[in-house]
């Protein structure tokens, strides 16, 4: 992915052909998946809305929009957060990682591969959130116990498969990463 630029509102003009005032929008410079990204947003817009609607990164999903389900999980300065509970303006100067940044040069991340092979998803809405949280866990603790996995994924809800396959997929991915 190239430089992420999103200035649609700056380009809007009024009936006289002059640029519309954008006083209410704030300019935010940030890093998304290791690429510099800039956007304009209203203070009330959540980081999730900015990612999905402005930057067109639709991997993070809107589930509950109140912090319970974890489908919108992204890493903000290396820690997993619910992007529905972060304001876009708070991302100024921050580094954000989304599920779109997990695959590397056309190769799925071992977690993504193990989720697929282990059928650890059904409808898929919760999957990006699980993947991002699980990645944060394995980055911090490459050999998590089953309890560690379940505990750290407690803020991610799945309403289709149940959690066993998800936990197994994370365990498999941990093994694969260790073997590398």
């Amino acid at each position: 992915m190239g430089r992420l630029e999103a200035y649609p509102t700056l380009l809007q003009t009024n009936h006289l052909g002059q640029a519309n005032p954008v006083a209410k929008k704030t300019h935010v410079s940030t890093t998304v998946n290791n690429e510099p990204a800039e956007f304009l947003c209203e203070p009330r817009e959540s980081l999730l809305e900015v990612l999905r609607d402005t930057l067109k990164l639709t991997g993070a999903k809107e589930g509950c929009n109140n912090g319970n389900c974890g489908a919108c999980t992204v890493l903000l300065n290396d820690v997993p957060v619910n992007s529905c509970l972060v304001l876009g303006v708070e991302a100024e100067g921050a580094s954000i990682e989304t599920v779109e940044g997990m695959a590397c040069e056309g190769h799925l991340h071992p977690l993504q591969q193990c989720f697929l092979e282990g059928a650890a998803l059904q409808c898929g809405i919760c999957t990006p959130g699980f993947l991002v949280t699980a990645k944060a866990l394995l980055d911090k603790n490459p050999t998590p116990s089953e309890h560690d996995i379940r505990f750290n994924l407690a803020n991610n809800l799945c309403r289709c498969t149940g959690y066993d396959k998800i936990v197994k997929a994370v365990q498999e991915a941990a093994k694969e990463l260790a073997a590398k």
């Binding site: 912090g67 820690v79 509970l85 303006v89 708070e90 803020n155």
Partner: protein, 291 residues
């Protein structure tokens, strides 16, 4: 969400100036795990949102065995339990920080926000009471200290006056042979609101066979979190025995005036106070001996 303006002041002075100028229409943003939900759901209004995470005093986390702990009001929970020294010195605080929501919530949620949101069921407040912490508040008239047990005044309300903000929670140094614990009762393992929450701290004598000093804090049993003063004072000088803990539980029940709601009837909540006081005292004593 309704429109608002956003400011992220870099100094306390600027923050109090903004708060005063806003004349009651500003809301403070720490981790946002309460306030963003409340703004989105229309439970609270804000003309301006003031992000306090750029103010160094609110992000301070400093500990020394001599001076105790200064926990900046906006420091997220995970910074507390990832600090081994602090985790060892203030175990009840750490128990609380580890069970507020899940990982994503703990990455953002602060103890200061938990206190200022002033929910009767807030998971950190019994631990703050047990650790004998005080709140450092700054406003247009300067700085003042408030005992944590006097901070909340009603559900969702507290002593903060217009223009004031919470700067830090200040914890006394830890004493030898002391331990603490927080437990809440919920019908699930994670991610739920306490039916009852209890935090206790004990300090044992040199021989580690008697309690010298204790403090017990309760949540979700009254309109505000409570300091169980009688039970705490009664424990001084008592032997380490199951009956001691059970009796303290009985005394602590006296300050419980719970409501009945979907999480449990009042009678059940009062019963749980006894159970959790006993359990947390046992755990606190074990931890005190382990040091």
């Amino acid at each position: 969400m309704k429109d608002f303006t956003y400011a992220a002041p870099a100094t306390l002075q600027e923050a109090t100036r903004l708060l005063t100028a806003a004349n009651g229409s500003a809301r403070i943003l720490a981790g946002g795990t309460d306030i963003i939900v409340q703004l989105r759901e229309g439970l609270r209004d804000a003309g301006q949102v003031i992000d306090v995470k750029k103010i160094p005093e609110l992000m301070e986390l400093s500990f020394s065995p001599q001076h105790g702990l200064r926990l900046g009001a906006a420091v997220p929970c995970y910074c507390i339990y990832e600090n081994a020294e602090i985790a060892k010195a203030y175990p009840a605080l750490v128990d609380s920080a580890r069970i507020i929501g899940g990982w994503q919530i703990q990455s953002r949620a602060s103890i200061g926000g938990n206190l200022c949101n002033s929910s009767p069921a807030a998971d950190s407040i019994p631990s703050l009471i047990a650790h004998h912490a005080f709140a450092e508040v700054v406003g247009p008239a300067g700085k003042r200290k408030v005992a944590v047990e006097s901070f909340c005044t009603a559900p969702g309300r507290n002593v903060l006056q217009q223009g004031e903000l919470l700067v830090a929670l200040v914890f006394p140094p830890t004493m030898p042979h002391s331990g603490s614990a927080y437990e809440r009762f919920i019908p699930r393992n994670e991610m739920d609101i306490a039916v009852v929450g209890v935090g206790t701290r004990v300090q044992l004598n040199q021989a580690c066979d008697k309690i010298e000093f204790a403090r017990i804090g309760l949540a979700a049993v009254a309109p505000t979190p409570k300091f169980a003063q009688e039970a705490s004072e009664w424990l001084a000088g008592k032997p380490l025995a199951e009956e001691t803990y059970a009796q303290a539980g009985e005394l602590a029940k006296k300050v419980a005036t719970p409501i009945s709601d979907m999480r449990g009837p009042a009678e059940y909540r009062t019963h749980l106070v006894g159970v959790l006081v006993k359990r947390t005292l046992e755990k606190a004593v074990e931890r005190a001996k382990g040091k």
